[in-house]
Symmetry: C2
Subunit: 200 residues, 2 copies
C-alpha cells in the first residue's frame, strides 16, 4: 500500500493505541478515514482536539464537564442532601440515563486496588469527606461496582464516614454480583436504588 513512514502508518499506529483496537482494525479504520468525505474526517479530528481542550473534571463531584461546577452540581432542582458515590464518570452517565436518581454525585475516579498500587489516597475520597464536612448531606449512597474491589472500596469509605451523622447506604437489589454498573439497564439500576440498605 504505502511506504512504512507515511502518514497512513502514523495514523494506524495512533489508532492501534486505543483500547480494543488491534493492528488489523486500526488499518481498516485508517483506510475508512481515507475514503471518508474530507469534512467528516476533519470533524472527527477536531472533535478529538475539542474534548482535550474543553473537557475537564468538575471541582465538586469530579464528573466530566465543560463548565465548573458541572451541570448536575449547578442544577437547583437536584437534591443536594444526598450524594451517590461512583467509581467513574461513566457510571454517572448510566444513572443519568436511568432517570431514577435526583440527587448529586461524587466520582472517585477509580477503585482501591492495592496490588496495582491504587491506594485510597489516589482516589477522590478526601474530596468526598471535605464535601460532607461542609454539612448539608443526609445520605451517602455507595454505588461502586458490585465486585471484589468495588465492595472493598465501599467498605473503606463507609468506615471513613462512620463518625459523621448521616446515613450510609449501599445500592443493593438488582445489581448482579460480578457485573458492571456501566452496562446495567435502567430497570436494574432503579431496583438497585429502591432496594438500597443501611451499610453495616
Amino acid at each position: 500500500m504505502l511506504e512504512r513512514s507515511s502518514s497512513f502508518e502514523t495514523l494506524v499506529a495512533e489508532l492501534n493505541k486505543l483500547p480494543g483496537i488491534g493492528r488489523k482494525s486500526a488499518e481498516r479504520l485508517a483506510y475508512h478515514i481515507i475514503k471518508m468525505p474530507k469534512d467528516e474526517a476533519l470533524r472527527l479530528s477536531s472533535s478529538i482536539k475539542a474534548v482535550k481542550e474543553k473537557i475537564f473534571f468538575c471541582s465538586l463531584c469530579f464528573n466530566l464537564t465543560e463548565h465548573d461546577p458541572c451541570s448536575i452540581c449547578s442544577d437547583p432542582s437536584r437534591k443536594k442532601d444526598r450524594i451517590l458515590v461512583v467509581e467513574d464518570p461513566m457510571d454517572i452517565a448510566a444513572f443519568e440515563r436511568s432517570g431514577v436518581y435526583h440527587g448529586i454525585y461524587h466520582a472517585l475516579q477509580g477503585r482501591i486496588i492495592p496490588l496495582k498500587g491504587i491506594t485510597p489516597d489516589r482516589l477522590r475520597i478526601k474530596e468526598l469527606l471535605d464535601r460532607i464536612e461542609k454539612g448539608g448531606i443526609r445520605e451517602v449512597i455507595l454505588a461502586t461496582n458490585p465486585d471484589v474491589e468495588g465492595e472493598a472500596t465501599a467498605l473503606y469509605i463507609s468506615k471513613q464516614l462512620a463518625s459523621f451523622d448521616l446515613e450510609v447506604t449501599r445500592i443493593g437489589l438488582g445489581v448482579p454480583m460480578g457485573g458492571s454498573l456501566e452496562f446495567s439497564d435502567s430497570v436494574t439500576l432503579g431496583k438497585a436504588l429502591e432496594g438500597r440498605k443501611k451499610f453495616s
Copy 2:
C-alpha cells in the same frame, strides 16, 4: 456524565460513524481519549487530519500514496510488464507484505455489484485498459477476491482484455473460495501467485 450537546457527545457521535464501532464502544473510546495524555490525543487528532491532507490515489495504479506516481509505480526495480489487478489498495498491502510479487499493480477501487449499482464504469477498469493500450504489458494477473462478485469482476475484465495480445491469468491455488485476500497469509498468497492459470 455530560450535557448531551457537549463536545463529548460530538466525539461519541463521530466515533460511532466508524465501521465496527457501536455507541458503547464509541463512549469507551471517547472516555479513553479524555483520560489520555493531551499530546497523545493531539497526535491522534492531527494524524487524522494529515492523512486527509497528504494521502491521495496514485494516478497510474490507484494505490494510496503521498507522492504521484506512488512508490511502487516509480520504483525502477519493479517489473513493468506485468500488472496485478486487485479490488482495493488494502489488497496491494497484503501482496507487498508477502513479498512474492515484483511487478506493478492496478487497484480497481471496488468490484462489480450490479444490485448495489456498482457497474463497471464506476471502477477503474477504463484506466486499466488505457495503461494496457500504451503497450509494454505482457501479463495481467487478475487478483480480485475469490468470491462471487470478485469472480464476476475478473470475468468481466478478462473479456475486455480478450482483444489485446497479452496473457490474462487468474490467481488460483491456495486462495480459498469465499475468503478474503486481505486476511490471507503470505504463504497462501505466494501459492496463489505460483499456481496462476490462464483465464479461459
